[in-house]
Symmetry: C2
Subunit: 452 residues, 2 copies
């Protein structure tokens, strides 16, 4: 079964909302999974999205909350922006605190206070607790509603307590704590079924619990859950008190988010840019990198200006340099992409000198092969052996430099505690462009009389 | 707690294996989680990796199988390559069939037959069944060991059967089938605990089961599990017979794999290239794209050759064109990256004309701003207003073209059923390079006397 949401369904809802048939639109939305409602809302133009959400909000507050949560804080923000702080409070207190926190954190500070003030005290303080932790840490994404039992509890009592704990949807592990609330063990739900009712949890629990502290980076949490095939990981504070739990569905969100972040940063984009931003926001977000890019791209310009005489006398050589720079750039960024991804996935790459030697070999060999093709093409056009030799040397040379540079730049950025994905390609391209133009033009300048 | 594996531990194992202290190395590995063993094996140079694995294999077959499974078929292949088909069979039959299948499928056909022939009949036929399904489908990644019960079963009987089902590690949902084996409902483990023992499953099960067919693309399965926050999804054949289950840990692997695939393809790399490939393999894998890239990069060369006279007479204009082409290329690939990622995540982007208009606005505005900066810089260097105007027009023009092109190329590739991630950037860059060189040189040719 594919997703229930279809373009047809979105279109139907759009038409109904557009002509004010709110009850009909609600009757459709009300039958759907919150994730599908979120998908339909995302499909709608902004003003209809607000109307459709309002309809849902008035008639089914819980479902509206769930759909908002699935829509995520980026796209949900524009919906909230039209609502009163009282309405936002009512809506957000329907959400789990870990789902509500990202929405609250993106609002202006005064509005945050107004909203938290208007929420029920318990929900507000749970959200406030989460917002104490820095962004992108375990504490920020954990659910504080963690099902835990004292180690003296018997299996029979545990089953009763599970039956009473109504609103906990995703319980697969039962965390066991000692009298002081410190995490001491874990049990799976299935293990409970296998034991006699009078057995105490402390006698059957697994004491070697994989856990994270609240300040652990969310990417590290995701790697841990993925490596060990966990369904959830408990979160403790520095004193080993159990403070929350992160479930695998949140980890999937983190993994998708981090992958998008890397993909966008490799292209020089801001992380939270999406196809649904306004053009003004996009220009503003991309502008700083375009300026940095202009500065780095000017390396070629400087070299061309430096060799201006050669450009005038040997225009034919210049004609081939963009192709050389492009090849070297691709070779360099291929290498840096592999290294950036290996760093992100926590893959190891053995020893550094071996890695660089390997990448150098790949760059030199492929540069020589592609350079030969270019030299042959140039010979067919111009019939000048000197020119072809220059092109071959420049391409092989620039590619040989490109691969080690592509390896080193992300590793150096990592050492400097910068995000390798963010800036690697721009610096790699600067170096490969510079090398390509310098090699080709310097060689051409040496033998300018025989190719002009 | 971070991952148990540390560089120090890898180093210790390396030293022990290198000097033949196999028992000591085994004693360390034997205490670790299979994922950590896999990490350590990956850190070792190839010959020591084989030695370390052999040590483990001889002393703890089950753990060796689990570590091999975590290592994955790409890195595991080099370990298997040194073993006899008898040894491989013994090892692979320790694995779950869905973990064993990827290893078998990567071996030469004759070896596949020898290995399946030497495995226990039941395990061999389970693996063979999975290999019937095409790669990257639900059938290929599912586990055929799915826990299901007849709908007439009572809750009490179900709990007994769960207690007896020994080797099923990840049971969270109980799938319910009718007398003919057709999937008819689902129950969570926790729901079992809440009902009286004599209740029949058919009276309490959820009948609206989210399911996939065995031929569903694995990326679609991952989107489904992620959207609906599932822990597992049942797999049925065309007749709705329950044939397997895909658990969330497999989905995480798919999500990571698909993200890596997109990141690599955006850089023009083959999907299964990693930092641990040999240089020869890498050259071979990258070569086709480098040649395509050379061909597309030659568009600039052709234009420069066409305007050779202008290049000779207005070398100063040519000096700035690489910076213009670079800007337009970045603008175009930023847009195509956003669109490619939106397609991959199944995000919608509203109507196409609106998207293109939006991207056009972003490109035109940022192109004009950055173009003005370039024009000012050029004026400071050359003091020639005409030159500055040409550069501004060329950059603004090329950026305006870049953004719609960046939107359309991935969408057209998608319509042609090609992978947008694979080829978008190469075509986008070809068009932006071409536009930049053509605009700048054509404009320069028109006014060549006033800038030379």
């Amino acid at each position: 079964m594919p997703l229930t949401r279809t373009p047809l369904l979105s279109e139907t809802v759009r038409k109904l909302v557009a002509r004010g048939a709110y009850v009909n639109a609600f009757n459709i939305l009300n039958r759907l999974h919150p994730a599908d409602i979120a998908g339909i809302l995302a499909d709608l133009p902004e003003h209809l999205r607000r109307e459709a959400f309002k309809t849902l909000h008035q008639r089914n507050l819980t479902l509206a909350g769930a759909a908002l949560s699935e829509l995520g804080p980026e796209r949900g923000a524009s919906i909230l922006s039209e609502m009163s702080s009282q309405e936002i409070s009512e809506l957000l207190q329907e959400l789990d605190p870990d789902d509500a926190a990202p929405f609250v954190s993106r609002l202006p500070l005064e509005l945050q206070e107004a909203i938290l003030g208007a929420m029920r005290t318990k929900e507000a303080s749970e959200v406030e607790d989460l917002l104490q932790y820095p962004e992108e840490t375990a504490g920020r994404i954990m659910s504080p509603k963690v099902f835990s039992l004292n180690e003296e509890t018997t299996v029979g009592e545990a089953i009763h307590k599970l039956q009473d704990a109504g609103d906990l949807e995703m319980v697969f592990y039962i965390y066991v704590v000692d009298d002081r609330g410190k995490l001491s063990g874990v049990l799976s739900l299935r293990q409970l079924l296998l034991k006699r009712p009078e057995t105490r949890l402390k006698d059957i629990m697994e004491t070697d619990v994989i856990r994270v502290t609240a300040d652990t980076d969310q990417e590290e949490v995701a790697q841990l859950v993925a490596s060990y095939n966990l369904l959830a990981v408990p979160v403790v504070d520095q004193q080993n008190n159990l403070v929350g739990v992160i479930t695998v569905d949140d980890v999937i969100d983190v993994i998708k988010h981090e992958a998008t972040e890397d993909i966008f940063r490799l292209a020089g984009l801001d992380t939270d840019e999406r196809v649904f931003n306004t053009p003004r926001t996009s220009v503003w977000k991309r502008f700083p990198w375009l300026v940095v890019n202009l500065a780095t791209a000017s390396v070629s310009t400087l070299i061309l200006l430096l060799f201006r005489g050669t450009v005038e006398r040997a225009a034919i050589a210049v004609a081939f340099v963009p192709a050389i720079a492009n090849q070297a750039g691709v070779t360099g960024t291929q290498t840096s992409t592999i290294v950036v991804r290996a760093l992100a996935l926590g893959e190891t790459y053995g020893s550094l000198p071996r890695l660089i030697a390997r990448e150098w070999a790949v760059g030199a060999v492929s540069g020589t092969i592609v350079g030969s093709l270019l030299a042959i093409a140039a010979y067919l056009i111009e019939g000048n052996v000197t020119l072809s030799l220059i092109l071959l040397l420049a391409l092989a040379g620039a590619s040989s430099v490109a691969a080690p540079v592509g390896t080193l730049v992300p590793l150096v950025l990592r050492l400097l505690r910068a995000d390798p994905a963010h800036a690697s390609n721009i610096f790699v391209t600067m170096i490969t462009d510079g090398t390509s133009y310098l090699l080709a033009l310097a060689l051409a300048a040496l033998v300018v009389t025989s190719i002009s």
